[in-house]
């Protein structure tokens, strides 16, 4: 399998505080990588670098041959490559970030029409198919505020998929949800994994990580401390810090 994402020696600082230290990570097509780690360990920052929501100071990111390079001192960067990467990489946020002034259907259709320049008919057919798939066909003309958190997050997933991304990034997709709604969102993600979507998931749902991940990456204080198949990480962690983290989160 060829790599679709290659992160090489990525470093990032917020002022004097370095949040990522020489992080390298390669993801192959069809792989599901789950990133775990304590709050503030840099895992969200890492995946937000992949689609350029965060700038970084050193290293490189290659997505399907398109390169993101460090920003210069004034924060400028290569926008043409970033534009290509954003077309290929979808992202789902902790807070959903649906567009509140647009209906569910409009949320899903907007980017295909404006960015991919699809005809409205085609965009609408695609949107309806995706909304049907996430179980929201009956809600397409509602506004986001009329939906539950779980429903909103499923719309957000459909909205990302409408751009036909080759990679999906999930930034703590269930952390803002009431417990009874976590399952419906994980179920949609499970379906995507089964179909072979390349996914990078930041989550605190350890059971889900063990079940769907091809590889689990443990990040601690901005460094990749340990990575491997879920069984190896969860049942036989090599690093003391990984053991300590897992015993903290698995106790609950």
């Amino acid at each position: 399998m060829r790599p679709i994402i290659e992160i090489q020696d990525l470093s990032k600082s917020y002022g004097p505080v370095q949040v990522l230290h020489d992080v390298s990570l390669t993801v192959t097509t069809g792989e599901v990588v789950v990133i775990i780690g304590a709050s503030g360990s840099g895992k969200s920052t890492l995946i937000r670098c992949i689609n350029g929501l965060e700038r970084f100071g050193a290293g490189a990111i290659l997505v399907d041959g398109f390169a993101l390079t460090p920003s210069d001192a004034k924060g400028r960067r290569n926008m043409s490559q970033l534009k290509e990467i954003r077309r290929e990489v979808g992202m789902v946020f902790q807070q959903f970030n649906l567009f509140p002034h647009k209906t569910v259907l409009e949320n899903v259709m907007l980017a295909p029409v404006q960015v991919r320049k699809w005809q409205r008919d085609r965009a609408e057919a695609t949107a309806m198919r995706l909304l049907d798939r996430v179980g929201l066909r009956d809600h397409v003309h509602k506004y986001p505020a009329q939906l539950s958190g779980g429903q909103q997050q499923r719309v957000a997933i459909a909205r990302s998929l409408a751009m036909e991304p080759r990679v999906m990034l999930f930034d703590e997709p269930t952390s803002a949800l009431d417990p009874e709604m976590v399952g419906e969102v994980l179920e949609v993600m499970r379906g995507l994994a089964r179909e072979g979507m390349t996914m990078i998931i930041v989550t605190h749902e350890m059971g889900f990580a063990r079940e769907v991940a091809d590889r689990v990456v443990y990040i601690d204080h901005g460094r990749v401390l340990e990575e491997g198949p879920p069984a190896a990480i969860f049942d036989n962690p090599q690093q003391e810090r990984t053991k300590a983290f897992l015993s903290r989160v698995l106790k609950h």
Partner: protein
């Protein structure tokens, strides 16, 4: 009193027509200019931001009356001769545009940063994000304060009487100097202004409640 009112009605009506025209014309310029200045002020380019900040502060830091005199009496010295109406519309539009730009800037800043991130992660350009995501949401936030400026502009059009635009205030002054019936004519002018501005203010407050309600429902 009624006989006076009837005999003065044509002039007063003509004045009111101009007052309303100056209000809408000035507001149209102010809205466009305010949006452009707001976008300039949040631009990533310091070369655009700096002159916009200076311009807005100069306008907000000086009297509207002085700005009107500048446009009408000083610009001709630089070879730009404006008619009273042109100078009046431009003066009102620039002055209110500077104030509205701050309202718009605050409205744009009030839209959650997650909205921009979502739009950018979908591949939308900065312009598309502004047009389809940020501005439609900022618009709801700025409608009530913009409405208040609109009512305020209606009253401030009285200032353009000083550059010989025959709006309501100007007509009142003409009638006063012809008839010396100061109390009568200025009371009539007073009533005309408040009969328009008070319901307009009530309308703005209704809009405010309406938008707060629909924002809460979201």
């Amino acid at each position: 009193m009624l006989a006076d009112l009837i005999s003065w009605a044509p002039e007063l009506f003509e004045g009111l027509r101009l007052t309303v025209g100056m209000t809408f014309g000035g507001m149209a310029i102010a809205l466009v200019l305010g949006l452009l200045l707001a976008l300039g002020r949040i631009s990533p380019s310091a070369w655009l931001r700096a002159p916009v900040v200076v311009f807005v502060e100069l306008i907000r830091g000086s009297p509207l009356l002085l700005q009107l005199f500048y446009l009408y009496y000083v610009l001709p010295a630089f070879g730009l001769k404006l008619t009273p109406i042109e100078a009046g519309l431009l003066g009102l539009g620039i002055n209110y545009g500077a104030y509205l730009s701050e309202v718009f800037r605050a409205g744009i800043a009030a839209v959650s940063p997650g909205q921009r991130e979502a739009a950018e992660s979908l591949g939308m350009s900065g312009g598309q994000t502004m047009r389809f995501i940020i501005l439609p949401q900022a618009w709801r936030i700025v409608i009530p304060p913009t409405g208040n400026y609109f009512v305020s502009l209606f009253k401030d059009t009285a200032l353009v009487s000083t550059i010989s635009i025959a709006e309501l205030m100007f007509q009142g002054q003409l009638i006063a100097s012809d008839t010396f019936r100061y109390m009568r004519i200025y009371s009539i002018i007073f009533v005309i202004y408040v009969v328009i501005s008070i319901p307009a203010s009530m309308g703005v407050r209704w809009l405010e409640r309406h938008f707060n309600r629909s924002a809460a429902a979201r």
